[in-house]
């Protein structure tokens, strides 16, 4: 008889929603308290945070909107006000929200943010610049842009690191000082990094449980728990949250409770690309009945995977090294060639059976050269992969039948290889 798989839900993750809601509520009401507001993209938000600004983070806002079910109507406003449907959906989401505020178009109140005093536009991808440019042109919002190139060749790393460091020191920090009318608060930046370091250290202990077979939790559990290491960094509430989560995972391991009932996962899946924020349930339902469990992914893994390298004594260097350091090097992992090494390492460490590359039709950040990456990894590690197409928040770009067919093909390939072994 076919096994009926289902997910054992974690208790600890129930605590995240109120924390996240509080964060966004505080941002929504910041202006009422006379606080300055920033919007940020790329990992540049710790700088406005250090100045006491209430700050939004581009991808974080998208995940929040996706989570509360507001994405669709905000995207519609963007289209109504001129954006073309093939534009990056995060870009459209922000344009839609800003236009809703400007033109008084009604959207879900929780999705409305105050327009910022400053945008810190970290430009990993060019669209992160385009949305800031657009908001400047349409609403005159002040922008401080920072170019954040991916590192395509290891020998370029130091040149780029130096460049990025100089942009933060010579451009971003002085602009923040001007906008906020006070000297840059290095002490607060150090404090934020200390809190982040503690939070990410405990989070890493939780990650270890993805190595257990069967796994005690899922990538989706982690995805919904990411806020304390991204846009809520510096808020100490992340520490007890991850401590509670860690305890629950330890308990599960001791009691032999897997993430996937009844007896654990049949396929251990690596997930590449963005998280489909608006469709988490929908995607889980495509994996779970097949006994497939997503456990690791490059994007969720990028959030300060090496807390031991964070050095609050040298906060600006630390932030830059998180992106361009020799050991952590987030911006390196984004270049397709280095992603092969990185994913290859995860395949070994987490005993991965198959790769799912989630290719967002409106964003190419993670999906560069996917087919070549899959082919190389298959030849190198013997692990098959598929590309599924969709979007993080735009329902018009998600085709269920295509996704299901590709996933079935992946599961069959894994089965076929197992039989041959």
């Amino acid at each position: 008889m076919d096994v009926q798989y289902k997910i054992n839900r974690l208790e600890a993750t129930n605590d995240i929603r109120p924390m996240v809601n509080r964060h966004w509520a505080e941002l929504r009401t910041a202006k009422e308290r006379g606080e300055k507001v920033g919007w940020a993209s790329g990992p540049s938000f710790m700088f406005p945070y250090a100045m006491g600004m209430k700050c939004h983070f581009m991808a974080g806002y998208a995940s929040y909107c996706g989570g509360i079910g507001a994405a669709n109507e905000v995207l519609k406003v963007a289209e109504m006000t001129g954006d073309l449907p093939e534009t990056c959906s995060y870009h459209r989401l922000h344009m839609g929200m800003a236009e809703a505020v400007r033109k008084g178009i009604s959207i879900m109140p929780e999705a409305i943010l105050p327009l910022p005093d400053l945008m810190v536009a970290g430009r990993y991808c060019t669209e992160q610049s385009h949305y800031a440019e657009g908001l400047y042109r349409r609403m005159g919002i002040r922008v401080v842009p920072v170019e954040l190139p991916f590192v395509f060749r290891k020998e370029d790393r130091l040149m780029i690191r130096d460049f990025v460091y100089r942009q933060f020191k010579e451009i971003v920090i002085p602009t923040l000082e001007e906008v906020c009318g006070k000297p840059f608060d290095y002490d607060r930046l150090s404090e934020i990094l200390s809190i982040l370091k503690k939070t990410a250290t405990i989070r890493n202990k939780c990650w270890e449980f993805f190595k257990t077979k069967p796994s005690t939790w899922t990538l989706w559990d982690y995805a919904v728990s990411m806020a304390p290491v991204i846009y809520m960094m510096g808020d100490p509430v992340g520490i007890p949250f991850y401590e509670k989560l860690l305890k629950e995972l330890q308990d599960r391991k001791e009691k032999g409770i897997p993430a996937m009932a009844p007896e654990g996962e049949k396929y251990r899946i690596y997930w590449d690309g963005w998280i489909p924020w608006a469709f988490l349930g929908k995607f889980m339902r495509k994996f779970t009945p097949n006994g497939a469990l997503c456990i690791v992914g490059r994007y969720p893994w990028e959030m300060f995977p090496h807390p031991e390298l964070l050095d609050p004594e040298h906060p600006v260097d630390s932030v830059v090294d998180y992106m361009y350091g020799e050991q952590a090097g987030l911006a390196g992992n984004m270049a397709p060639k280095h992603s092969i090494e990185f994913i290859g390492g995860l395949i070994e460490e987490y005993s991965i059976d198959g790769l799912v590359m989630f290719s967002s039709k409106s964003c190419r950040m993670w999906n560069l050269s996917y087919l070549d990456v899959i082919d190389t990894l298959d030849k190198r590690c013997g692990v098959p992969g598929v590309v599924i197409e969709g979007d993080m928040i735009d329902q018009d770009m998600v085709s269920d039948s295509q996704i299901e067919t590709r996933l079935q093909a992946l599961f069959e390939t894994i089965d076929g290889r197992r039989k041959r072994k």
Binding site: L84, T126, E170
Partner: protein, 380 residues
Amino acid sequence: MEKVLSKITEVTSDPYAYVAELKERKGKKIIGCFPMHIPEEIIHAADMIPVVIWRSNESVTWGHAHVPPYDCGITRSFVDDAVRGKLNFMDGMVFHVRQCLQVGEFPLIIERNVKPAYMEILYLPPIYQGDPIKSYLLKGLESFKASLEDFSGKKISDDNLKKSIEIYNENSSLLQKVYEIRRDRPGILKAKEVMQIVWSSMLMPKEDHNELLKELLREMEKKTVETKKERIKVIPVGCLCQTLQFDILDMIEDLGMIIPDDDLYVGSRYFANKVRLNGNPIEALADRYLIKTPLCPTKGVWDVHWGDEVIKKLRNNDAKGIISIRVKYCPPHTCYYPDFKSKMIEEGVPEVMIDMEHEVISLEGMKTRLQSFAETMGGV
């Protein structure tokens, strides 16, 4: 004029055969550059021939095994050409990987499948304020120069580089002259011929192209054009990184519109800015890159509005309307477009957008749009 134009048509109708033959004839190495922002002058000074990578007119086949269908035409077409071995005559390739995310597809695919003897990556920055941008750009260009010296085995002296800059500047002046004459006598060349002239400059050694242009200009000076008053002047804008299908340019003209000038990639953008000859030549090349106009939506400029620039061009040409040509799946243009459109509405400038797809399925829909656009401007 026919002789020059037929030579140009020969080059552009089969650029693969032309460039491969050129390599044999000149005994020089060919370096493909993507996109046109690569400072070709440095490659020229290393005694190699830079060519700007182009879009073929064929459907994508093997390329689909490497890039998604929602990449822009040039990305898919270039990868397809490369993996099918159609570009094997290129000794080297240079990619500016910060142009947009899609260019980030190239390095791994090319390296893994059809690696040329030389492959270089340039990270040209957006034009943001402050010294870090300029010094980073300079470092990038210096290291590009060093890698070319390494590959060619030839030291690039400042004098050599200045000589190359002069040749390239001359090409820009000559192309500007062609455009000036067309502005004065629209219709002297068909729009597709102008595009072919610029495209051939992207493919030919500049010395040879300069000679062709001089001959063309002599002929153009002599030629008179019958002025057809009823024709409505329009300015095509955009079509980043690739040629537009010539049929579309013909269609614009067949519908009674005429193009006195353009703001196209394979058009006036290619030769808009010259490089100063005094001082350090690498710095001069960097300064040219940092000029904000003609505004390129890939370069992060926001204190100049693309719409304002194009309206200036429209007014200078006494033109009536703008035809935006947006390459399907080109994020930089797509993200900018709503603001461009708003500017046109604000200024009361008639504007229409057409999508340029790599594979043209039917031109009928486009024809209807363009026809009604011409009619709204009081055309035929």
